[in-house]
C-alpha cells in the first residue's frame, strides 16, 4: 500500500475481545485508507461481526486502540457515530413502517430538515429501485428489497465510512450482483467501505485490500491479486476415458495428482492461458485424448488451507479418515 499523508479512515491496533472464556479477537491490526474498500474475509465465527460491532461503537473492545475517521471509538463515540453508517447481516429496518417511512425516520434522526430530507428520500428510492414499493409495508418486500432499503437507510445521512456486514449473505445471485454494483458506485463517491464476507469472489470483485481473519487473528492480507498469487489451490482437472490414458498422461506430467477411480488428473497451475496451453500441448504430442477439462480457480477453502493449514469448516474425524484411505 502507498503511504498516504491523510489519516486513514479506519485504524486499529491490537484489538482484543473475549466473551467469557471464548477469545473472539486476539490482537487485530487493520488500516483502511480513505476512499477504499477493505474486505475482512473469514468463515462463520471468525470474529468478523464482532469487529464490525466494535468499530461501529455497539460494543466495547477489551483492549486496543481503535480509530474511525481519526476519532477514538471509546472516548468520542458520538463523533464516530456522526461519520459512519452500518448495514448488518440482519436487517435493521422498522417492519411496521413502509419503505418511505423508514427513510423518513432516518432523515429526521439525521436532522436533514423537511425539504432536504424529502429530496434525499426520493433520490435514494429511485437509486435503489424502490420507488414503486415506497408506500408499501415491509411485509411485502423481498429479501433483496429489504437489504437495499437497509443500505438506503444507512446512506440517508451521507456517511463517509460505511460498514457492511455480510451484505449479500442469503441473497439470490441476481440481488447479489445488484448489491455489488451499488457498493462499487459508493466508492466512486469517495466513501470508505469496511466489508465483511465469507465469499472470496465477493472480496475479489469489490475490495482494494483483503484481510483474512481466522480465530481472531489476521492471518493474511494484501490486494486480491497478491493473495490469490499465494494460493496454490488453482488447478486444471482432466478427465480420461480409460486408465491407460490416465497413466500415460501422468507420466507426461509428473507433478499431477491422479484419481484412479474416477480417471481424473489434477494438474496444479496458476490458471493462466500459457500454463494451460503447455499441458494441452504435451498431451497432444503424446496423442492422449482428454474426455473433459475444467479449470478450478482458488476459492476461500484454498485461501484458508493455504494460510491457516485448515479448511473453512472443521472437517469431521470420519471425513479425514476417509480422505486418508488409499
Amino acid at each position: 500500500m502507498t503511504i498516504s499523508l491523510t489519516a486513514p479512515a479506519i485504524s486499529t491496533r491490537a484489538v482484543r475481545k473475549s466473551f467469557g472464556e471464548h477469545i473472539v479477537l486476539d490482537g487485530v491490526d487493520l488500516t483502511v485508507a480513505e476512499g477504499t474498500i477493505l474486505a475482512l474475509l473469514g468463515p462463520n465465527g471468525a470474529g468478523k461481526t464482532t469487529m464490525v460491532r466494535i468499530l461501529s461503537t455497539l460494543i466495547p473492545a477489551d483492549g486496543g486502540d481503535i480509530r474511525v475517521g481519526g476519532h477514538d471509538v471509546v472516548t468520542d463515540p458520538d463523533a464516530v457515530r456522526a461519520l459512519i453508517g452500518v448495514t448488518g447481516q440482519f436487517s435493521a429496518v422498522d417492519n411496521l413502517l413502509t419503505g418511505e417511512e423508514n427513510l423518513r425516520l432516518m432523515a429526521d434522526l439525521r436532522h436533514l430538515g423537511r425539504q432536504a430530507g424529502r429530496r434525499r428520500i426520493a433520490e435514494l428510492l429511485e437509486r435503489f429501485g424502490l420507488t414503486g414499493a415506497a408506500r408499501k409495508p415491509l411485509s411485502t418486500y423481498s429479501g433483496g428489497m429489504r437489504r437495499r432499503l437497509d443500505l438506503a437507510m444507512t446512506l440517508v445521512g451521507d456517511p463517509s465510512v460505511i460498514f457492511l456486514d455480510e451484505p449479500t449473505t442469503g441473497l439470490d445471485p441476481r440481488s447479489r450482483r445488484t448489491m455489488w454494483q451499488i457498493i462499487r458506485e459508493l466508492v466512486t463517491d469517495g466513501v470508505t467501505i469496511f466489508l465483511t464476507t465469507q465469499y472470496l469472489d465477493e472480496a475479489d470483485q469489490l475490495a482494494d485490500y483483503v484481510a483474512v481473519l481466522d480465530h481472531g487473528r489476521i492471518v493474511a492480507e494484501g490486494t486480491p491479486v497478491e493473495l490469490k498469487g499465494r494460493i496454490p489451490g488453482g488447478h486444471i482437472q482432466l478427465q480420461f476415458a480409460e486408465p491407460a490414458a490416465l497413466r500415460a498422461a501422468l507420466s507426461m506430467i509428473p507433478n499431477a495428482t491422479p484419481d484412479d477411480d474416477q480417471l481424473i488428473l489434477q494438474v496444479p497451475g496458476d490458471g493462466s492461458v500459457a500454463s494451460l496451453r503447455r499441458v494441452l500441448d504435451k498431451l497432444d504430442d503424446a496423442r492422449i485424448t482428454v474426455e473433459h477439462l475444467s479449470i478450478h480457480t482458488p476459492d476461500l477453502d484454498d485461501v484458508f488451507f493455504a494460510v491457516t493449514g485448515h479448511a473453512t469448516t472443521e472437517p469431521t474425524t470420519r471425513q479425514e479418515e476417509e480422505a486418508l484411505q488409499p
Partner: protein, 262 residues
C-alpha cells in the same frame, strides 16, 4: 440547534414512529381497551347485583367500581409498553439507532410518551362506556381535571416500570408476561370491593399498596368522599415508582449488549 433542541427533536421523531405503529396496527390498542371494558361489564352486570347489595344495588356498585376500572385500565394499558419496548430491543433496528448520533434517551422517551397518549385514549374510551351505561359522577370540571391528572401521573409511573420490565426481558414473550402482576394488584386493593371486607393480612396489604390510595383519590374526586392522606400517598407512590423505574430503565438501556460472538 442546541443539544436540548436535538433531544426534543429526536424524542419527537421517536414518538411519531411509535404513534404510527399504534395507528397502523390498532389491534394492541383495542386489546388494551377491550380488557377493562369487559371487566366493567362483567363486574356491573354479572357481579354487580350481589356486590352492590351492601351499597344500594347495581347502580350504586357501578358508581363505586368505575374509578377502580379506570385504575385497572391504566395498569393493563401499561402492559403494552413492555411489549413494544421488547419488540424494539429484540429487532435489528435498535442496533441501527445505537450506531447513530441520536440523543440519549430519545428511544425510550418516544415509547413512554407514545404509551401515555395511548393510555389516555383508552381511558377516554373506557370513561365513555362507563357514562353510557349509567355512571353519573357529581364531579366539577376541576375535579374531573384533577382525577385525569392523578390517572396520568400514575400511568406515567406504571409505563416507566413496564418499559424497564420490557428492557429487562430477554424475549417479547417474557415481556408480555412479567408486567401481568400489575393487572392483579387492583384486585388486591379497594378498586372492586371495600378493603374492610377482606381478612386481616390481605386487608393490610390492600391498604398499604399503591393501587388503593390512587383508587381512593380518583374515587374521592369523581364521586365525593374523603381524599386527604390518600392523595399524598398516591402522588408519592407515583413519583417514587416513576423515578426508580426511570433510573432502572435508563441503566438497562445504556448497558451495552454483549451478545454472542457473532
Amino acid at each position: 440547534m442546541t443539544s436540548l433542541a436535538y433531544t426534543f427533536a429526536d424524542s419527537a421523531t421517536m414518538l411519531r414512529r411509535n404513534l404510527k405503529h399504534q395507528l397502523r396496527y390498532p389491534s394492541l390498542t383495542l386489546m388494551l381497551a377491550g380488557f377493562p371494558i369487559v371487566f366493567l361489564l362483567l363486574f356491573v352486570y354479572v357481579f354487580g347485583g350481589q356486590l352492590g347489595s351492601g351499597l344500594g344495588g347495581r347502580g350504586a356498585y357501578l358508581t363505586y367500581v368505575v374509578p377502580g376500572i379506570l385504575i385497572i385500565t391504566v395498569a393493563s394499558a401499561a402492559l403494552g409498553t413492555a411489549i413494544s419496548v421488547a419488540t424494539d430491543m429484540t429487532g435489528g433496528i435498535i442496533d441501527r439507532f445505537r450506531t447513530m448520533a441520536i440523543s440519549r434517551g430519545a428511544v425510550l422517551t418516544g415509547h413512554v410518551i407514545g404509551s401515555l397518549l395511548q393510555t389516555l385514549a383508552v381511558l377516554v374510551l373506557v370513561a365513555g362506556v362507563s357514562l353510557a351505561i349509567g355512571f353519573r359522577p357529581h364531579a366539577s370540571a376541576l375535579e374531573w381535571l384533577a382525577a385525569a391528572g392523578m390517572l396520568t401521573l400514575f400511568a406515567f409511573a406504571l409505563i416507566w416500570l413496564s418499559a424497564a420490565l420490557g428492557l429487562a426481558a430477554k424475549s417479547v414473550e417474557t415481556a408480555s408476561n412479567t408486567p401481568m402482576f400489575l393487572t392483579l394488584l387492583p384486585f388486591l386493593s379497594s378498586a372492586f370491593v371495600v378493603t374492610a371486607t377482606m381478612p386481616a393480612g390481605l386487608r393490610q396489604f390492600a391498604e398499604y399498596q399503591p393501587f388503593t390510595p390512587v383508587t381512593q383519590t380518583v374515587r374521592g374526586l369523581l364521586i365525593g368522599g374523603p381524599i386527604g392522606a390518600h392523595a399524598i400517598a398516591a402522588i408519592a407512590w407515583s413519583i417514587g415508582i416513576a423515578v426508580v423505574s426511570y433510573l432502572w430503565a435508563v441503566r438497562l438501556y445504556n448497558r451495552r449488549r454483549a451478545a454472542g460472538p457473532n
